[in-house]
Symmetry: C2
Subunit: 318 residues, 2 copies
């Protein structure tokens, strides 16, 4: 399988931005006086929930897919995911005009299966264990010759995810802090690489559910510790931190903080009500970290990357 396991450079991120800019939205940055008053800082939300497929994942997937050689591209791309990465790969492949093969667990929510199908991807179902996903994916890749696009353990993905921070700092060069959620670590590592290259003194922080705190424990111990079946509403962050992101995070990220489930739900609802935008529970994690005082933002300018907005409206947590 193709993976790209060396740390991307800042130049890779700038190239990624150039490559994807005709395909991806330049997402808006919103702020709210009420949030500023509540926190004592000035908070700027970079709204990847308004990105294509409703999530930042489109940045990484489209960078990876549009950087393939003609030769590699012609057999298509493959991935295993039941979340936003699957939709992102499916859409980016459709835009490039190549096949996409997605391995999904047989118990994946129908709405997610349908979304991936709508983007024209071919789905192979498997049992819902990681082992089944990986072995099924291997079979698919063998049969089709498709290129595997890992959701985060891949330099092209990390470079693509870093383009969100690039835009945020173009719009607001005077930020003191950037906070992102951390799951597999693609976004946090890409953000750290971009932000520290542009502004070496900036603080970059990851926020994680306390119930899925493998990135926190890995960061603090210096050893990559996987998480096992974590019970958190932030479904995008249930995955374990990847190897390449871990090495970048260890070097470039200033801190990782954790928040409890009730704070995540409360912050999520607050953003829905006061900012009138739909965010996934995963995006509420950094917001909760600020509201709970886990990150001291008083008098500071703070960017938060709002990662996605794909929510089942019939299953809200309130």
């Amino acid at each position: 399988m193709n993976t790209y396991l060396t740390t991307p450079t800042f130049d890779d991120i700038k190239q990624a931005h150039k490559r994807i800019s005709e395909h991806a939205h330049r997402t808006p940055v919103l702020n709210s006086k009420q949030v500023d008053q509540k926190t004592g800082g000035r908070i700027f939300f970079k709204c990847e929930n308004f990105q294509k497929v409703g999530a930042f994942k489109f940045r990484g997937a489209s960078n990876a897919i549009f950087s393939l050689s003609e030769e590699d591209a012609k057999n298509g791309v493959a991935t295993h995911s039941s979340g936003n990465h699957a939709q992102a790969v499916a859409l980016a492949a459709k835009m490039r005009g190549i096949p996409a093969y997605v391995v999904m667990p047989e118990n994946a929510p129908k709405v997610k299966v349908k979304a991936v199908q709508n983007y024209g991807a071919e789905i192979t179902f498997c049992k819902s264990t990681l082992e089944a996903r990986e072995s099924t994916l291997e079979q698919v890749v063998e049969k089709t010759g498709a290129t595997f696009i890992h959701p985060y353990d891949d330099a092209r993905i990390i470079a693509g995810q870093g383009t969100s921070a690039l835009e945020l700092l173009e719009d607001h060069p005077d930020l003191d802090i950037i906070i992102t959620p951390v799951g597999g670590g693609g976004l946090l590592s890409g953000t750290a690489l971009a932000a520290k290259s542009i502004k070496p003194g900036i603080i970059v922080i990851g926020a994680e559910p306390a119930n899925a705190d493998d990135a926190y424990r890995s960061f603090k111990s210096g050893e990559l510790i996987p998480v096992k079946n974590p019970d958190t509403i932030a479904d995008g962050l249930r995955t374990s931190l990847g190897k390449l992101p871990f090495s970048i995070i260890t070097e470039h990220v200033d801190d990782i903080v954790t928040v409890p489930e009730e704070s995540i739900i409360e912050a999520m609802r607050y953003v829905w009500e006061r900012l009138n935008m739909i965010i996934e529970a995963s995006c509420a994690v950094p917001v909760a970290a600020v509201f709970d005082g886990k990150v001291d933002v008083k008098g500071k300018k703070v960017g938060i990357i709002i990662t996605g907005g794909n929510v089942d409206l019939d299953n809200l947590p309130w």
Copy 2:
């Protein structure tokens, strides 16, 4: 009572934009490939749901309040409203540092009462009839010397509401059509004045719930016909068309179309799910008009003003 009952000029709208730009957000314009594919046009959403107080109403209210003379301003401002206009007047008055007096029906939703209180306005409750509201307001004005800020029958309000179309056409000068909801008519009339001044050939259309079709009937008959207790989910559009907006709409608006309740709810949910933003039922009315083919958008570039996002999350229509 002070009202300003002559049609504002394009210069008034440009002045309004200059006046409010340090107080109001410049709201983003979003678009969606999925919406474009569904409609056959290119649809641009001007997102006033991300405006201060969560609605375009802040534009008009802040223009009116910041254009008062020191002499008039010192006794404060007054209005009667249970909706977004009340919050807009309260916040703009707070920003100018003058008192705001708001008359609200005693059965107004607690969340709306609280929002107005949070902006520091003094609330006087009254019975829920229009007569009670108007007579209570008269008493408040008499007692305090405050200036009455009408929600739509006022040139300063109309000029302020027109600034949204001004920004939309700055960002997308090649629009063929602009559609807004129509209730009291402040937004539609301001939009028509701005848009036709900037681009005389542009088509401006109002969209209204079929269950509250007084603007439609007034427009078609040439006579101002009020609506009586209309039963529509689009609570922002239950009000009757105002006199000054009616005269402007008659002269400058190309058409008014109506949509049924089910289409409004369907379009509202579609925008929540696909655009990941929270919109009120009122904003879904122009979206429904496009989805239902009431406005032919095939091959056209169309701006829709998304008017607000203040929704009770515990009372969703699905």
